[in-house]
């Protein structure tokens, strides 16, 4: 089998708190191939962002520690690399874009400078050449009059423009992996679609792998090849986009799908919301982490943590209900 471009194996990430170490991510694994889009889906606080920041090893700066696990990139374990070694990879082979485009850009430098800086950090180019690259990149991400825009400051651009600039900055060195942490959440719906289209188009052009973090199942359906659903730091379901959307198994995945407006809901009906809230890391429930919010929860769910169960051809679910055939049928009925 082909070696995956990026592989996360049993990654656990924790934060030091008064109560001890809080695990924000618990044994997460995933494999990414080039040219594919991989989606991490879940509510806020499910550990998606922490996972992505861990891949970049930026989590170190936010006070997080990688407790165990490996992150293989081209067969090399990123967890074992020093920050000095990571600096050479970040922004070059591994790039990342963030949720708030307006605050992700430094207000005191022109956008052209900020893009050119990424070029100069990784490629042996002079300022002039780097600026030329920056303008080319701005053109590629669909910014009109890039020569003019390059000389402007972030506050002179709209949110959608800023996100295009952030994307240009991330992609200017042609990375192999792009991590996009909720890239469209802060944007208008129409701009969202444009940015998603842009990412899709650039992915094909640069043949890179995208790890897209989102809480929006609609966005995931639009762009993902593979989907992993996370809840309270653990993976609860993973599979191809067809598997997860056509045969969702985990009650949490179902809940997320039902929450999409327009999906099984009619005008005038209340939008569906999963009851309850995601538990705090300090007070994780025993057994399955989702059981307090799960309508199908049973005795076993309250006591024991479920183990991953393969439903065939890579569709994994972490739910006790999937273990026995009758139960899965009964859940199907209840659906």
């Amino acid at each position: 089998m082909k070696v995956p471009l990026l592989e996360i194996r049993d990654l656990s990430v924790g934060f030091q708190a008064e109560q001890g170490i809080l695990k924000a991510v618990d044994r997460v694994s995933l494999k990414m191939e080039e040219g594919k889009t991989f989606c991490l889906v879940g509510e806020s606080g499910s550990g998606k962002s922490v996972t992505s920041l861990s891949v970049m090893r930026l989590i170190d700066y936010d006070g997080g520690d990688i407790l165990s696990g490996e992150i293989f990139f081209h067969g090399e374990d990123l967890v074992r690399k020093s920050q000095e070694e990571m600096i050479k990879l970040r922004g070059y082979k591994l790039a990342m874009i963030f949720q708030e485009p307006m605050s992700a850009l430094n207000p005191v430098f022109t956008v052209g400078d900020q893009i050119a800086e990424a070029v100069m950090l990784h490629q042996n180019k002079g300022k002039k050449e780097a600026c030329q690259d920056a303008i080319e990149m701005l053109r590629l991400v669909g910014i009109p009059a890039p020569e003019v825009r390059a000389r402007q400051y972030p506050h002179e651009l709209s949110g959608g423009m800023c996100q295009r600039v952030v994307i240009a900055m991330a992609l200017v060195c042609k990375p192999e992996v792009l991590i996009a942490d909720e890239p469209t959440t802060a944007l208008d719906v129409t701009v969202q679609a444009q940015i998603l289209d842009l990412l899709r188009q650039l992915k094909a052009e640069l043949n890179m792998a995208i790890l897209l973090i989102t809480h929006d199942m609609g966005v995931a359906a639009e762009v993902a090849d593979q989907i992993t659903v996370m809840y309270a730091g653990v993976m609860v379901e993973e599979g191809t986009v067809e598997q997860v959307f056509s045969h969702p198994y985990h009650p949490y995945t179902l809940g997320l799908l039902k929450s999409i407006p327009g999906y099984e809901s009619k005008r005038g009906m209340d939008l569906y919301a999963i009851p309850g809230n995601i538990p705090s890391l300090a007070q994780l429930p025993q057994g399955c982490r989702f059981h307090p919010r799960c309508v199908l929860a049973q005795e076993k769910c309250r006591l024991e943590e479920p183990v991953p169960h393969d439903l065939g051809s890579g569709h994994m679910v972490k739910c006790w209900l999937s273990e026995s055939a009758e139960m899965s049928e009964s859940t199907a009925e209840k659906r």
Binding site: M56, L58, Y61, Q83, M86, I87, K88, L89, R90, G91, Y92, A95, M96, F98, E100, S103, A104, L105, N106, P107, V108, F109, T110, E117, A118, L121, H122, Y153, H155, E156, L157, S158, M161, V166, M169, A170
Partner: protein
């Protein structure tokens, strides 16, 4: 940039004009009015009238104002009541003396405090950070005159290492070699005071910036941490620091009345205290006016520096742009 500069310049000039009006009004509302203050008690009515006429005090108020302003612009601040010495002659040397003392202390505290604050912000609660915190508490809490007296007690009286007070040793050439030992103690006192504030400001300003999203973006670009701190964070962190420095600028000239008094430093702060005791209104007014001018100048400079450091500032006056 040019438009912004001109706008701020005009605003400053307007404020200066208003300040001059207020100062003039203050002189005229001083107890008994300028004539009474100025004239010797027991003078006959006729003699007083003649005196007032000679001094131009019988002229209409607006004319008096214009003359007063004209004199000011030529550097004439009036005369002291006692001895009729020109105020300018007393004032300017003290300004220079204060500038030497405060300038050295200010510069010293800046070159220590800003790098130190930056360093501490990148290593919160390390030994260096804790030390800075203790020094800040001391600097804020300890009265400067008391700290000054302690230093005098130890280094001048007990150890006899440094001169007790004054700017120069009497009877010796007034050169830098004479000046330096006299500077040490008062500069130490003042530096501690400035340092206490600046090290805190620069640390907290940097800390706030270091948690911004764009710092994470810079790191995600693969930027070495040193460059993240000194290029991307520092420039943003400087913006609030500039405000504080601009606001502190008047102290440089106004001087520290207490420290100058303790060390018998012939500066403007001490002059103010002495003249207040002697009720020399003309000198006090001159000092007040000069201080007001420097306050305006400090704010003006801070605003100009702002615009240089922060590109968003220039647009503020035009109401900003959305796209």
């Amino acid at each position: 940039m040019r438009e912004y500069f001109l706008r701020r310049l005009l605003q400053s000039l307007l404020v200066l004009f208003l300040v001059s009006l207020v100062t003039f009004a203050l002189i005229h509302s001083a107890p008994g009015g300028p004539v009474r203050i100025y004239l010797t008690p027991g003078l006959s009515q006729e003699a007083a009238k003649v005196q007032a006429h000679n001094l131009g005090l019988d002229q209409p108020i607006p004319i008096q104002y214009v003359r007063w302003l004209g004199d000011l612009l030529q550097g004439n601040f009036g005369y002291t009541f006692k001895n009729h010495i020109p105020v300018a002659k007393i004032l300017w040397p003290t300004v220079g003396n204060t500038l030497i003392l405060m300038g050295v202390a200010w510069f010293l505290s800046l070159i220590i405090a800003i790098p130190w604050g930056i360093y501490n912000s990148t290593r919160e609660y390390c030994l260096s950070d804790q030390t800075a915190a203790v020094i800040s508490y001391l600097g804020f809490a300890m009265p400067t005159f008391w700290f000054g007296i302690l230093l005098q007690e130890l280094f001048s009286l007990k150890l006899n290492w440094l001169p007790l007070s004054d700017m120069y040793t009497m009877g010796q050439a007034r050169n830098i070699l004479n000046l330096l030992p006299h500077l040490v103690l008062p500069v130490t006192v003042l530096t501690l005071g400035f340092l206490a504030a600046y090290v805190k400001y620069s640390r907290s300003s940097m800390l706030e910036v270091l948690f911004q999203d764009y710092i994470r973006t810079a790191r995600a670009k693969g930027m070495p941490e040193r460059r993240v701190v000194f290029r991307h964070a520092l420039r943003n962190a400087l913006i609030p620091i500039i405000t504080v420095l601009g606001l502190d600028l008047p102290i440089l000239v106004g001087g520290a009345a207490l420290t100058e008094s303790v060390f018998n430093w012939p500066g403007m702060g001490r002059l103010f205290v002495e003249m207040a005791m002697a009720r020399e209104y003309s000198v006090l007014m001159a000092i007040t006016l000069l201080t007001a001018v420097i306050v305006i100048l400090g704010n003006f400079l801070a605003d100009i520096l702002y615009a240089i450091v922060d590109p968003r500032v220039q647009l503020a006056g035009r109401g900003g742009r959305s796209v």
